[in-house]
């Protein structure tokens, strides 16, 4: 019996020794691996800018690597932008009902604060549990049935309360005048006002200083009844007609220049940068002139072939003109945010030509041009050479 017990103890010791050797080998091999990139918060920074109007729309929520969030925000600060607009999808935070995962939002907020950058949060994207049962009814990530308005309002209130004092500007939905953004349903300004109504008091109860921004409308000339959407001017009028003014503190706008210069005149039938003035006229007509405006998306695209694009040189010139116009002429405007700073992954099509920085963090000439403007740098150097044979 004793010899059996001794053999058992020997076997255990032998196995134990192999375990120890295995652990040592694993630790040694571990030293050969490169360290995972880290993004520790540094000394708190402040943004230096001569033009606080300059703002960027970022796309950080889909970043996997934290250092890319940090790098993006460092570049935004160095460019002279003290504010970003960022999308915080409901579906990402509350993927299961009443189960919140704030970790991605938290790390963006932490790095933005560390860089001295304010955030305007855009809210939207419906989790599966809040959408209609897809077996019975067609739905997309943008389909928010009216019975889910209280759930969305609860999420917005939770967000407003959690980040009170840090994120005080919340945009409720995005471009609801497009069928695509309204779950491929007929667009419904009255329905959107009911959504604002559901959100407004709940958000203010959670954060008395919150500024609820009505959704920016897509610049479009779609007539009433169109399956694709509704003219933004008509949609905004319908919001006011439905009493929506009581449920927002500021209005977000989207205004793109497309192929026209920033100075091209506004008109009801033109989609250009100054279309913001047409929207502003609607606000004034409904006695809402005191409500501030945040242009949360603007810009030009320099794709070589897209019919709504301009050349890279025109893009820079028009963008700088847009900042000048907004600063000198639009005293009702708080921020002018360029779409889009950088994509976490390329779209492999013309939207990539809206960016200021490539996915792999190469700074485009427009980044330097906006930085030169925002920071008040001066340069005499021409950006490009004259055409060959012209010297």
């Amino acid at each position: 019996m004793r010899s059996i017990a001794r053999r058992g103890a020997d076997g255990f010791r032998r196995r134990w020794r192999w375990c120890v050797r295995g652990v040592v080998l694993w630790l040694l091999l571990g030293t050969l691996l490169p360290a995972a990139p880290r993004a520790p918060l540094g000394e708190p920074q402040t943004v230096e800018t001569d033009h606080p109007l300059v703002c960027l729309h970022t796309r950080l929520i889909e970043e996997v690597d934290e250092w890319k969030i940090q790098r993006s925000l460092q570049l935004a600060r160095e460019m002279g932008a003290d504010t970003i607009v960022e999308f915080f999808p409901w579906a990402y935070v509350e993927n299961d009902e009443d189960q919140y995962n704030w970790s991605n939002v938290d790390r963006i907020v932490a790095h933005a604060r560390n860089q001295g950058i304010h955030i305007i949060a855009r809210m939207g994207l419906v989790p599966a549990w809040a959408r209609p049962d897809t077996d019975d009814e067609f739905s997309t990530l943008n389909t928010l049935p009216e019975e889910s308005y209280p759930d969305f309002a609860e999420f917005v209130a939770d967000f407003a309360g959690r980040y009170a004092g840090v994120i005080d500007h919340l945009i409720i939905w995005n471009e609801p005048n497009l069928a695509f953004e309204w779950g491929y349903r007929q667009v419904d300004p009255e329905g959107y006002v009911r959504l604002l109504q559901a959100v407004y008091d709940a958000a203010h109860a959670a954060n008395p200083n919150v500024v609820i921004l009505a959704a920016p409308l897509a610049p479009t000339l779609e007539p009433p009844g169109s399956a694709a959407g509704l003219n933004d001017l008509l949609y905004l009028e319908a919001i006011y007609e439905a009493g929506g003014a009581a449920y927002f503190d500021g209005l977000a706008m989207h205004t793109y220049g497309f192929t026209e210069p920033a100075a091209a005149p506004a008109s009801e039938t033109a989609l250009n940068f100054r279309r913001a003035e047409m929207l502003r006229q609607v606000m004034e007509r409904y006695g809402d002139a005191e409500t501030p405006v945040f242009i949360t998306e603007t810009g030009w695209n320099d794709n070589p072939r897209w019919t709504k694009a301009v050349t890279p040189s025109q893009r820079i010139a028009y963008t700088l003109d847009a900042f000048e116009i907004a600063e000198l002429e639009w005293d009702w405007m708080e921020k002018l945010c360029l779409w889009v700073f950088r994509y976490p992954a390329p779209t492999f099509n013309y939207p990539d030509n809206f960016t200021l920085v490539t996915t792999d963090f190469q700074l485009k000439p427009i980044y330097y041009a906006v930085q030169t403007y925002a920071r008040g740098f001066t340069t005499d150097e021409s950006l490009w050479l004259p055409p060959p044979g012209d010297q």
Binding site: T307, R315, N349, P388
Partner: protein, 268 residues
């Protein structure tokens, strides 16, 4: 009762032979199975709406452009050629770029032919055909130029369009090679002019821009080298593999008989 030393050897050999035989039979079966063409469902099953609904963002000349009552372009002709090959009528659905993949996912269209670049991250939901066009950057240089590939650039001049992907690519190569001079011009045509007139040893521009330029300057016969690959492909839903297979087969047929190349040359 010591076990024979041969017993374990024989057992091991038997097990190894069984595994080997099993793998061989499996491989032969797989090869035979893949070699036998499976009959595809009839067209009315592949396209249950009785037509091939093609999603396209018709704002992308020369690939697809919409007029008041029609569409034209390379991809419009490609879709028509594919539909003719398959034997099904075609209907175009003009969509914004943002809505293309959603329209495919929600079965509003059967295929997307819209200058879509293969996006590996969509592999779960989208099946891509083989590429029908490379829209990447090309290095264009006169025959007598010392620069015919990027590695030849040190000490030479490279013309690019200011702010373009070509300039970004040139800066990337500047970090890999000995120095060369990047000459930015306002337009890709000026960069190509520089290469043609000898103000630069080469130009780095998009394939489409180069092709369009060469149509305007037929007397110039430069060397063209592909530097980056940006493959345009047709997208179908991944859960409709038969539809993807039929599209791919039709595209293959257009490639083999030269129709695709002729179609590209019509526009580029």
């Amino acid at each position: 009762m010591a076990a024979s030393p041969w017993r374990s050897v024989i057992l091991t050999l038997i097990v190894a032979a069984a595994v080997w035989l099993w793998a061989l039979v499996g491989a032969l079966y797989a090869i035979r199975w893949s070699a036998v063409p499976r009959p595809l469902p009839p067209v009315r099953v592949l396209f249950p709406y009785g037509e091939m609904r093609v999603g396209v963002d018709a704002s992308y000349p020369p690939f697809a452009v919409a007029t008041a009552d029609d569409m034209f372009g390379l991809e419009i002709d490609l879709a028509r050629a594919l539909a003719a090959d398959i034997g099904v009528p075609v209907r175009f659905v003009n969509l914004g770029f943002d809505g293309l993949y959603d329209a495919l996912r929600t079965d509003q269209v059967d295929v997307l032919i819209s200058a879509l670049i293969v996006d590996p991250s969509r592999g779960d939901a989208v099946a891509y055909s083989q590429p029908y066009f490379n829209a990447g950057q090309v290095l264009v240089s006169s025959e007598g130029s010392p620069v015919h590939e990027m590695a030849d650039l040190p000490d030479h001049r490279l013309a690019v369009e200011f702010g373009s992907q070509g300039q970004t690519e040139a800066e990337r190569w500047l970090r890999r090679l000995l120095p060369f001079t990047v000459l930015p011009y306002e337009l890709p045509e000026y960069a190509l002019d520089a290469a043609r007139l000898g103000e630069a040893e080469a130009a780095l521009v998009e394939n489409v821009a180069a092709r369009l330029y060469l149509r305007q300057h037929p007397a110039w016969q430069p060397t063209i080298t592909e530097v980056t690959v940006v493959p345009f492909a047709i997208a179908t839903r991944a859960n409709r593999p038969d539809r993807a297979a039929v599209i791919d087969a039709a595209l293959e047929s257009l490639m083999l008989d030269g129709s695709l190349e002729a179609l590209i040359r019509r526009y580029l």
